[in-house]
């Protein structure tokens, strides 16, 4: 069996496992939370000025919340088997419809952030790695450490103050226009770029000190040719593997950044769903996020293997 097929088969099994674990865990966690679900849902639907015992009772009857956890869990699993995520307990809309809108917004944000970070981080890292120990290298270390240490919440506000309020280049927050995407994406990208710059720098420095680099130079290739034909491949493998890990960071960052910038993403949706005890939304969102991780990791695995196929031959 080829590597790609083995990977896919393994990941498919993993996806099924993740779906089951996420489903069971999110259901159990929502059940274990304190407070009466009917009251929480009533407050979410009608606002806290109107939440009352009467409305909670109406919600309880409408959603059949007294049916018991086993019945509700069974219903959800049966729905899931038919690829139906159910309806939100708060808005009454199909969960899938809500997630599709919000996941789309999050993916858009994450993709642009990742793209921006790749434009910023690795080139700076390569430049620093070529002159490891130099002034630029040391300055980059400080800058990267600082950017990594600043909470995204603060970074986002600083960017709004500088780019939107002072320079009036970009809208401060909102959603709907392409220009709204830049600031939240940049907030995420700077943190990611700080890390990828370090990875690229270390990989570049290691390559620059390697016999392969010396040999390429001996062949008479120029610095640029060495970098282009040999260096980039050497850097790409660790960088890509690291990117895979960064998706976790990205998902976490998206939650914070979406709140600051009023971005209608899945992180925002998950927080609200947990707060509102909207069980189908929590389950649906967690499931989609879990499966996205599996999918992304699969893609990264395949890409890394393509860039660095050595182990397979061995």
């Amino acid at each position: 069996m080829t590597f790609a097929l083995r990977t896919l088969a393994f990941r498919l099994l993993q996806a099924a496992g993740v779906a089951l674990v996420v489903g069971v865990m999110s259901f159990l966690m929502m059940r274990a939370m304190p407070g009466d679900m009917a009251f929480r849902i009533a407050a979410a639907r009608y606002g806290y000025d109107l939440a009352s015992a009467d409305l909670a009772e109406a919600v309880r009857t409408e959603l059949n919340l007294d049916a018991g956890p086993l019945v509700l869990f069974g219903q959800w699993m049966a729905d899931l088997a038919r690829l139906d995520l159910g309806r939100s307990m708060v808005s009454g809309l199909p969960v899938w419809e809500e997630i599709a809108h919000q996941l789309g917004a999050s993916l858009q944000l994450a993709a642009v952030a990742l793209g921006l970070s790749l434009l910023i981080g690795p080139p700076l890292g390569i430049y620093a790695g070529l002159r490891a120990g130099g002034r630029f290298d040391r300055a980059l270390l400080v800058a990267a450490a600082a950017l990594r240490a600043v909470p995204q919440f603060l970074l986002g506000l600083v960017l709004i103050v500088v780019l939107a309020v002072q320079l009036r280049l970009l809208p401060a927050a909102g959603h709907g226009d392409i220009s709204h995407l830049v600031l939240p994406a940049l907030t995420l990208a700077l943190g990611l770029a700080a890390a990828s710059a370090r990875i690229a720098r270390d990989a570049m420095a290691a390559f620059a000190a390697s016999p392969a680099h010396a040999f390429a130079c001996t062949k008479g290739l120029s610095d640029g040719q060495v970098l282009l034909h040999h260096g980039l491949r050497a850097i790409a493998a660790p960088l890509l593997t690291y990117l895979g890990l960064q998706f976790v960071l990205l998902a976490e960052g998206v939650v914070v950044v979406e709140t600051i910038f009023g971005w209608p993403g899945i992180g925002h949706a998950l927080i609200h769903a947990v707060f509102h005890r909207d069980v189908p939304m929590v389950q649906g969102t967690a499931l989609v996020m879990g499966l996205s991780f599996v999918l992304l990791n699969t893609l990264i695995d395949l890409a890394v293997r393509r860039i660095d196929p050595r182990e397979v031959r061995a």
Partner: protein, 500 residues
Amino acid sequence: MLSRLSLAALIAALPALPALADPATLAIAAPFEIKAADPLLSGDIFLKLDVMETLVNSDATGALLPGLADRWSVSEDGLSWRFHIRPGVTFHDASPLTAEAAAAALTWSWKKEGILAKAPVAAITAEGEEVVITLKTAFAALPAFLAEYRTGILAPAAYGADGTVTALIGTGAFRVTVLEPPLRLEAVRFDGYWGGPAKLEAIHYAGVSRAETRALMAESGDAGLVVNLDPASVTRLASVKTVTVHSVSLPRVLLLKLNAAAPFFDTVAERRALSLAIDRAGLAQAVLRYPAAATQMFPPAAGAWHDPALAPLGYDPEAAKAAFAAAGWVPGPDGILQHDGQPFAVELLTYPDRPELPLTAAVLDQMLREVGIAVTINSTNSSEIPAKHAAGTLQMALFARNFALVPDPIGTLMQDYAPTGDWGAMGWDNPAFTAAVRKIAAEGGTAAEKAALSATLQADLPVVPIAWYQQTAAVSNSVKGIVIDPYERTFGLKSAEIVQ
């Protein structure tokens, strides 16, 4: 090098991105999230944005005005109300507003636990050009109820067979073009509006939950109208030349709910002693940052319900200690009051949705500790308050209560104090008060009758008023005609305009 180039390219491309603000479009940022197209869930937003309207309107003093109903009348026995539908009104889908359409919309609101479910409604029908609401018992506050957002009127085509709202088709001055819950709504001027077309061409609504972000949107000019500012941002925006901060006193009150059936609060003397231990002026200045200490339950915005002659609630910790001592609560060895060996230790429930609440709870904790009360703060989901009320386990709760859910506090009083309610009195029963509230709800009341009820609340203190709220908004100086409505029904968008 590559990165510097790409950054430079990025920055160079920025001004070429689609415009930040269209000159005839007003951008609005507020914390309210859109849940769905149903007026029951998000009608408050649709009403404020002039997308949807109600049969009855109200002005800034809470007085009722004609809305989609241009006049109304009630039968002699008070059991049959006739609302005449304004002629010539069309919905955004070009269908006409008829009595049938209005009756159908109201019926869905009533059946789906809207505010009409709280009124003694027997039937809602259409007769000719009139909507006829038949009641089981007389109810004078019915027109005020019909000004509430949950009774917003949508076109027949907006409802599915089971009453599910599938589209937002109202009669307002703006027609919705984009509705993307939870954070986005866009609408354009509806040229067929019965009140004449609006001056603004379009409105863009953004739900932005963080107050800091909203304030920055006002400062950067991204939003011409920003609603609900945090106290720190109000101070900051005061020095920004391009925006003006407006604030208006609301009929919303920060209240301390007490379980009057608990041994700590079962006498008037104990409740008054507790009230004396609270330094309202200091608290309002420190936490809310505006002078909003409540001297009585109703703020001046509540019209006749506010009685300027009423002796204000005071602050005197020594008198509070003496009053507790007289009621049998004496300090134990740890300084905590005791009565028959029971320490005065109570749980204070609150919720963080309003950022000032946990802060206020912490300040109250300190003030009450001064007189020997041990408070445990539980900042949780707001729904715990009605839940623990129902279970009878609530001791104290801190929350903000809107007395203008309908533009007449009688609706809220009836739900909360006649005799008890989730967001009002607990374990308190004053039959005379209950009877008076029911009478005013049924027949209407004079200013003197309303003031008498306020005096009873002041004397009995079933709940302890702490502070009166102010609504704050930042409005760009290029936007004219914005209204900050104490009853939170409108922003005045249908007559607002952008001037350069």
